[in-house]
Structures are given as C-alpha cells and as structure tokens.
Subunit: 226 residues, 2 copies
C-alpha cells in the first residue's frame, strides 16, 4: 500500500481441505486491509489461486506467495515481526509502539518520525512453535479471548494503518463496486475515477448477482472453489 | 456489553459442513468484540455448541440463539439494523451516523446524547434477499472489496465501540489468559482480578498447550469439532 515499507502477512500452517476457507480469508483480508503481500504454506495452492483471482479482477498491487520455509522466513526477516496470538500483549497497549517501530507514527516534532521498516505479521493456523514467540518483536493479542485469526488480523491492520487502508486506491482493476446506501452496483474500473466518487453512475444490477461472477456472498471469499 | 442497549449479530444463512467454521468464527468474533448475542440459523447447531462452550470457559454474558425465522427477525427488529455488505456505504463515511443512531456518540453538549437503541448487525452467508438491503437502516461496506465476513464484522464492531470492547471484563469465567510479551499463561479466573492486571502471576505453561483444552491454534475457533 506504501512504497516506503512492505507489510507482509504470513499464514503459519495450513491443513488442506479443512483450512482452505480460513486461509483464503486471511489472504483476502490482508489484501483488502492494506497489506502488500501474503505468504501461504506451499500446500495452500487453492487459496493462493482464489486470492490471485480476486486481485486480477478487483486490482492491486498485491502479491501472493507459496513457500515451504515458514520458520526460515520468520527467522531471517529483516524488519519488525508481529505475531498475533491470544496470549500476547493487548493490542491497545502496544499498537503505538508497533507503529513507531515501523515508522507509521505521527512524530511530535516535525522531522522526528522513525524511518520506515518492513513488517511481517504472522497469523497462526496450526500450532505455532515456541521459537516464534521468542523471535517476534511483538506478540499481540486482539483481545485475550479465543476467536478468529481473520478477525484478529483485520482489527490489527485497521489499527496499524489507523484507517488509512480504507481509502486505498486500486490499480489494474477490471471492476469496481460503487458504495451505495441501497444498491449493488459494479462498474468497469475504467469507467469512473477510482477515488471514491460516490456519485458515479454505472450499471445498477439491483437484486441480481451484480455481474461480478462471484457467488453472491457478502464480504465472503467471493470465488473460492467448493 | 452494556445494559443500556443490546448489540445482536445475525448470521444470515448457513450451509452445514461447508460453513461451520465461518459461522463459528462469526459467533466467537461477535462475543470477543463486544456484541451481547448472536443468532444463527437453526441448522448451525454445531457452531452454536462451540460458541457456548467458549462462553462457559472464558466468560460472558453472551447469548447464542438458533432461529429459523431470519427474515422475520430482521423485519420486526425494534432498533437500528446494519447490514454488512461490500456494496454498502463506506464504513468510514457512516460510522459516526451509526453510533449516533444507537446513542454511542459523544455529545458535543452535555446531556445532548442520543438515547440508546438496540442494534442488529446482519452478516451475510448465503446470498441475502434484496428485502434486507431495503430494510437495513445502513448497508455498510468495510471496504468495497471482496474479503471475509468475519473481518468485516471485526472492524465494524471495533469502530462501533471505538475500542472500548477491548477493555471488557468477563463474568463467570473459568479461566483467563494473562497478556504477556512472551508467554502462554492461563490462570483460573478466580485467582486474579479480571481487570487487566498484567503483573498477575499464574501458571506459566510455556510451549505447552497452555492447559486450556483448546487445540492450540492462535486466535482460532479454539475447540471446534472436526
């Protein structure tokens, strides 16, 4: 989302079949909420294909990688490593420190901003090794309650970027959804400026499948193979 | 989370088997991020059982209901209805209006706050009927990109409560995770005050399964049946 630093989401562990949908949602959430790249385990090819397909249609830049060396990626990452875990420090207590560590804070004195650093956000799937807790610069809990790694990632990214990710513009998109109070409007991305012009006119396909080729689930993985 | 108003999450549609995990995550996310109740379709009994189990162990109050009259619930809801959809208005544009509608805004003049009203947050699963778009007081998009209904719900709730949900205290919990920079500590809920005392000592089960009886996935559904 920003040329100064790369924000990478690493999905740690994946059980083909059972985890396909969760892994896909981790990838789509990373893309939608401002990350630049997601890394899946190499047995998550189906999820990678789905996320790449969404990027082809709805724009990027966003990269999807399949790698079999999760441990080495974490160990050798040159930048800040955040591990999302329900055992970690409370996100509301450490988010300012994380932002400062990667240079996303607003300096109190002009020119005093920290330099930008890359960020690796590790999202657990299967049980993660203890070494990850030790390597992480921050173990962060979005609540200390058991819930969803997708929800934790979403809240973390929204707080990391302080909402700026919601205004991101997309490049090389085929189509674009027009935000509406009541409607389901999808237009060719070339037809209108991509800068949140809510008054843009387009093909209104109310009640239809919005012509996206998706299976119509709202906020859903939108194209995953069954 | 608040006696003044009830925040209810309605999962619209559920395909047994395929949607079990997503529906469970919708329920756990609703619980962890400040909602008071979740309503699942009545064919989502397995997800309901999982969410109730987490509430039994980690505390509440949080209610889980199975209902077969989704349409009627939405139609007759006495309060504000928000429908999360990628076709909706941008969350950053309407969140203040939603907060004001349910009395969560901070009044500019003392005593000028809106009265509290109940809120129904509808999360799509299967394709939702057009009538829902029309009935909703707000169709809200957490981005207008296809991603995850769990991520959308998480960001919406965090913004609705303005982060206050992260400080929620839990009643009748058996156990409590102690937030730590590096650790996996779970204590009996009775052992320590539930008010975020980070210095509390407890059983440190580093590298073990933290004694929670969960299957060790971080931020995961923590107990769902395979």
């Amino acid at each position: 989302m920003n040329d100064a630093r790369e924000v990478v989401v690493l999905r740690y562990g994946h059980r083909p079949g059972r985890d396909d949908r969760m892994t896909t949602h981790v990838g789509l959430t990373a893309r939608a909420l401002g990350a630049d790249r997601v890394i899946f385990p190499d047995n998550a090819g189906q999820s990678a294909e789905t996320v790449r397909g969404v990027t082809d249609r709805f724009g990027g830049p966003f990269a999807v990688e399949l790698r079999d060396d999760q441990k080495a990626i974490v160990k050798s990452f040159e930048g800040v490593v955040v591990h999302l875990t329900m055992y970690g420090e409370r996100v509301q207590d450490v988010e300012a420190e994380v932002r400062e560590a990667v240079g996303l804070d607003e300096p109190e004195v002009v020119g005093e901003a920290s330099p930008p650093r890359d960020l690796l956000v590790v999202v657990g799937g299967e049980k993660v090794p203890w070494a990850l807790y030790e390597r992480a610069d921050f173990n962060v809990g979005v609540t200390n309650q058991p819930h969803s790694e997708v929800a934790g990632l979403a809240v973390f990214l929204d707080r990391l970027f302080d909402g700026a990710e919601l205004d991101r513009e997309w490049e090389h998109a085929d189509r674009r959804v027009v935000p509406e109070a009541t409607g389901k409007t999808v237009v060719d991305a070339d037809d209108v400026p991509a800068s949140g012009d809510d008054d843009a006119t387009g093909t209104d396909e109310r009640g239809a499948d919005a012509g996206t080729g998706e299976r119509g689930a709202e906020h859903d993985d939108a194209g995953e193979r069954d």
